[in-house]
């Protein structure tokens, strides 16, 4: 007698229809969607503004004397750093293949074809070795050089070219090549010099 009762109970347990299950999930997703849409509506404009501010700050760090940065027509990702109405530098994105993947750099190039500074946007190099490429001391080795000087060497007495990072020759080469590519592009754009 109880056997039949149990099976009956078990049978009732399984009686959730597909509709009920679907409704459950749909309502859950609906609620989730409403919450997220509202949040997005409120926070997104602020996020966009903040992102733009950070970008401008990053560019100001590269070219300190500029007062405005404007996008360059026809060149994706390029910015012209202007001071008092005239362009003093171009800020250009560049990419190169490093030891652990693509290295993305923003390079500030002066009008006479020299590197002002650069900022590494993303890289996946070895911590403690290759990731020193973003540090001040390595940037100093690249700043102020022209395209011809941007070659990596290991001889400590050579001050003209770029000293490699100890234990990170591949990373050093990649960053230097990326910067040099940016300088060459700017030189070509400004009509060659």
């Amino acid at each position: 007698m109880s056997e039949i009762h149990d099976t009956h109970a078990a049978h009732v347990e399984k009686e959730y229809s597909i509709l009920q299950i679907a409704m459950n999930l749909t309502i859950a997703c609906l609620v989730s969607g409403i919450i997220l849409a509202t949040t997005y509506f409120i926070t997104h404009p602020i996020a966009v503004e903040k992102a733009k501010m950070l970008e401008e700050q990053a560019m100001k760090d590269l070219v300190a004397e500029a007062d405005t940065f404007n996008a360059v027509e026809g060149q994706e990702g390029w910015f012209a750093a202007e001071k008092g109405g005239s362009i003093i530098a171009y800020i250009v994105p560049s990419e190169s293949k490093g030891y652990g993947g693509t290295i993305k750099i923003m390079v500030a190039v002066s009008m006479d074809g020299k590197v002002i500074d650069y900022n590494i946007l993303s890289m996946n190099e070895t911590p403690g070795l290759g990731d020193s490429a973003a540090k001040e001391f390595f940037r100093d080795r690249i700043k102020g050089k022209t395209s011809d000087d941007l070659i990596v060497v290991k001889d400590p007495s050579n001050k003209e070219n770029v000293q490699a990072l100890t234990g990170a020759t591949i990373t050093s080469r990649a960053v230097t090549d990326g910067v040099r590519a940016a300088v060459d592009e700017v030189t070509e754009f400004t009509g060659g010099k």
């Binding site: 030891y99 070895t126 403690g128 070795l129 100890t166 234990g167 020759t169 591949i170």
Partner: protein
């Protein structure tokens, strides 16, 4: 009258297995291997000077002390003086640059003993070659110190502080020949140990003599070292820098840690396969990975990692290639 068994009149004595005993104990084997390594180690000290001696001594003391400490803490039988910790310390020292700061060597040695050997269960239970684990840990921790070599003069009085494989990787084969003054000079330098490198890996002739000693004493099989070295030779010859069959196999077979790795570390009975066929597979695999890293990888030398990687595969090899059970058909 009670039966009296007079011990002096026993005609038959019964004992338990094993009935055939080998002369070797773990300890004796370990000390024989240490002996085989000694000539190359002494050469390293003479060639590289006091820093090499300090590193060897520190490494050995650290290994033995670490093993003693671990066994004391775990309250197990102290086997720290049986020669195996000594061997690990010695091997590690012979695989690192003589310019390493001794405290780093000591830490590497301790890592090899504590992590690679005892955390895995102690002698006979380790999966990976402890000395190479120590070396790999040091490489990851202090890569700049591990790639700082001595400054030596080559036979043609060129000053260099890079290893031959390092020169090959970063500057190319012609630069390498120039540094040594030609092919036969290069081979002579490699064979006699007149080159830059780790403390114990440089003198090919002494290492081979040590290896042959071990083969003679039946401590290692000749198959692993010969096959591993030959594999590297063949592959580096085929995949040469200027197209197929333009490589320099003689150079590659003598360069870097290949000789010492093939004779003394790939043959480690705990971490290598049991069967001869398995060992040959192990040797071929290690040779292939070494060649791959040397030719295409980011590092100039690949022996350490190739042996560790093949250590991973050893259990699999042993699973697939079972020893033939005595008495069953072929």
């Amino acid at each position: 009258m009670s039966a009296q068994i007079n011990a002096a009149e026993t005609l038959l004595s019964v004992s338990t297995a094993p009935y055939i005993k080998s002369e070797d104990t773990v300890s004796k084997i370990m000390w024989k291997v240490n002996l085989a390594l000694a000539p190359a180690a002494i050469f390293g000290v003479i060639y590289f000077g006091v820093p090499a001696l300090i590193n060897i001594v520190v490494s050995i003391i650290a290994a033995v002390a670490a093993e003693y400490a671990v066994q004391k803490i775990r309250k197990v039988r102290i086997t720290a003086f049986d020669g195996s910790a000594f061997l690990t310390g010695l091997l590690l020292a012979m695989c690192i640059s003589p310019e390493m700061p001794p405290y780093m060597t000591a830490i590497g040695s301790a890592i090899a003993i504590v992590i690679a050997k005892h955390s895995m269960g102690g002698l006979g239970q380790n999966i990976f070659n402890p000395a190479h684990i120590g070396r790999a840990a040091l490489m990851v921790s202090w890569p700049i110190a591990m790639t700082t070599w001595s400054t030596i003069k080559t036979p043609v009085d060129a000053v260099t502080s890079a290893t031959p494989l390092g020169i090959l990787k970063l500057q190319g084969y012609s630069e390498l020949l120039e540094t040594f003054g030609g092919r036969s000079e290069l081979y002579k330098a490699l064979f006699l140990g007149m080159r830059n490198g780790s403390i114990g890996e440089t003198c090919t002739v002494l290492l081979i003599i040590g290896g042959l000693f071990l083969v003679w004493k039946k401590i290692i099989n000749w198959q692993i070292p010969v096959v591993m070295i030959a594999t590297v030779g063949v592959l580096t010859w085929i995949f040469g820098p200027e197209g197929f069959f333009t490589g320099d196999p003689v150079f590659h077979m003598m360069a870097g840690g290949l000789i010492i790795g093939a004779f003394f570390m790939a043959t480690d009975m705990v971490t290598a396969p049991i069967t001869k066929r398995g060992q040959i597979i192990f040797a071929i695999g290690a040779g292939m990975i070494t060649s791959l890293i040397r030719l295409k990888g980011g590092y100039p030398e690949g022996v350490c990692y190739s042996i560790l990687l093949m250590n991973c595969v050893t259990p699999l090899i042993d699973l697939v290639i079972k020893p033939r059970i005595y008495g069953t058909g072929r």
